[in-house]
Symmetry: C2
Subunit: 293 residues, 2 copies
């Protein structure tokens, strides 16, 4: 892809910081500007190679940017977009990285000027248990899925540029509508998180017998809580539907426990589905702690 000129990343944490590292290491941007909430993060992000320069002022940070990445916690994305939009040049590509889309894409599209900034919702399905710039790492996106959520109002050129960027950092871009995204990710990300938290809470008294299945199932419960609270608020309806679908399947399995053959068939269908998924996306060197999203 043709490199960006100035890229401004607002929120230089796990995802924003890792993206900055890739942009700089791979020469995908002429310069990377970081916007942080606290001054100290600027030095830390520079030391880690995630940004060339930083500021705590979003308006100053987006000046002259060709690409602006909103990488704040999900609950702050829309207000930050509102704050910086008047200061973006026409033609600037604006995107976010939040794990919830409809309640972010819809309000941002309502304020993006038709003739000006190009907004494309994005969600890189990458992460680890950590948070902040300290948890950022090169290679975080390698082999992961990068969801793009264009609507009928999204300029195809913007989608193409973001897809090229996703590929350039090693990810596989996949397009979904914002609503499809939220339904799907409720099932494959938000539901497993709540299930992991419930498993931890249900086994509080279970003692020292955590085997590999338990550790794998619950690892994501160790990730920072604040973001998940915002996700639950912003994607409540889809998460409730996902919980309902899950509860029904669990009840079906429990009913079948008295009928060995039927239980075996149901478990075998689950097994085949799991084997089709493979393990490659989690089998990398640092797979053991890649467990957010």
């Amino acid at each position: 892809m043709e490199p960006f000129g100035r890229v401004t990343i607002i929120g230089v944490g796990l995802i924003g910081g890792s993206l900055g590292m890739e942009l700089r290491a791979r020469g995908l941007a002429r310069e990377v500007v970081g916007v942080t909430r606290v001054e100290e993060t600027i030095a830390a992000a520079r030391a880690r190679g995630a940004i060339d320069m930083g500021t705590v002022d979003p308006v100053a940070g987006v000046a002259g940017a060709d690409l602006v990445v909103l990488a704040t916690p999900p609950g702050l994305v829309v207000s930050m977009a509102q704050r910086v939009l008047p200061h973006l040049r026409p033609g600037t590509l604006l995107t976010d990285v939040a794990s919830v889309k409809a309640n972010i894409v819809r309000p941002i599209e309502a304020i993006v000027r038709q003739d000006g900034v190009v907004f494309v919702g994005g969600h890189p399905m990458a992460g680890n248990e950590g948070q902040g710039i300290a948890a950022a790492e090169p290679g975080l996106f390698e082999g992961t899925v990068y969801l793009l959520t264009p609507t009928d109002r999204t300029a195809p050129s913007g989608v193409k540029r973001l897809a090229d960027l996703a590929r350039s950092v090693g990810a596989v871009p996949v397009e979904l509508s914002p609503d499809e995204h939220d339904r799907t990710v409720a099932l494959t990300s938000h539901l497993p998180y709540l299930v992991a938290a419930a498993l931890m809470r249900a086994t509080a008294t279970a003692g020292p017998t955590a085997g590999p299945a338990f550790l794998g199932a619950t690892r994501v419960a160790g990730s920072p809580v604040a973001m998940w609270g915002e996700i639950c608020r912003l994607n409540q309806e889809s998460i409730q539907k996902a919980l309902q679908a899950f509860r029904e399947e669990l009840a079906r399995l429990e009913e079948a426990m008295t009928d060995g053959d039927r239980l075996g068939e149901m478990l075998e269908a689950a097994r085949q589905a799991r084997l089709r998924l493979g393990t490659h996306r989690s089998a990398g060197g640092s797979s053991g702690d890649r467990d957010r999203n």
Copy 2:
């Protein structure tokens, strides 16, 4: 520990085969005899270094044994114990490796002669997604928990010998009563398996968005089904209680989704509990596929 003379492993699969490899590689036994169901497994197990010699005849296999390990699928352990018990010498240590204990320990204790064989129930909480001798691997027990389930009828000398063996293969022996074992493992092993299967079934239509949390939570659903069916049958009551406790916690989390502060507190408690567990037991080189039990 003082090495065993002849060790007979009945069922040279993932666990039995891995144990044989450790016994031989570490000089913990003078010789390891394997009893298999099919003739071909004998050659495969010898080639993999899991046994010195093998037979398909359990009675011939246990002749002269100082330690007999019942490593068949859980549903066959009691009948196999019945078959070989009359042929064991007084003083022989008999153990099993099944993930269910009360329904195995109770019937075996009922037939073990008081003055003869010493039976100690065991459950190494180790494994991977595979099955059979092909999936056996040295180091499988390293850093894992090896549960021992003595009762008031169990000779302490037998418990000590099995605990020494567990330590010698790199595991941490932990004693629980058979009933405690079944309650605990229902929560920390059988429940996560059923949850993983239900997650797979609930997300059948979710498309290509499986992130690391989902892959981690569902990996165990890819493990062979037959053993899990037997576990569900043999530990049904405890599993139903575990499912109930889990359902209640999940419902509490869902209720709290409309109350950000309360949800945050509940998720934070889960997070702290998960962080206390650590990752060391799943962070080894082959952690990515250590997911049975």
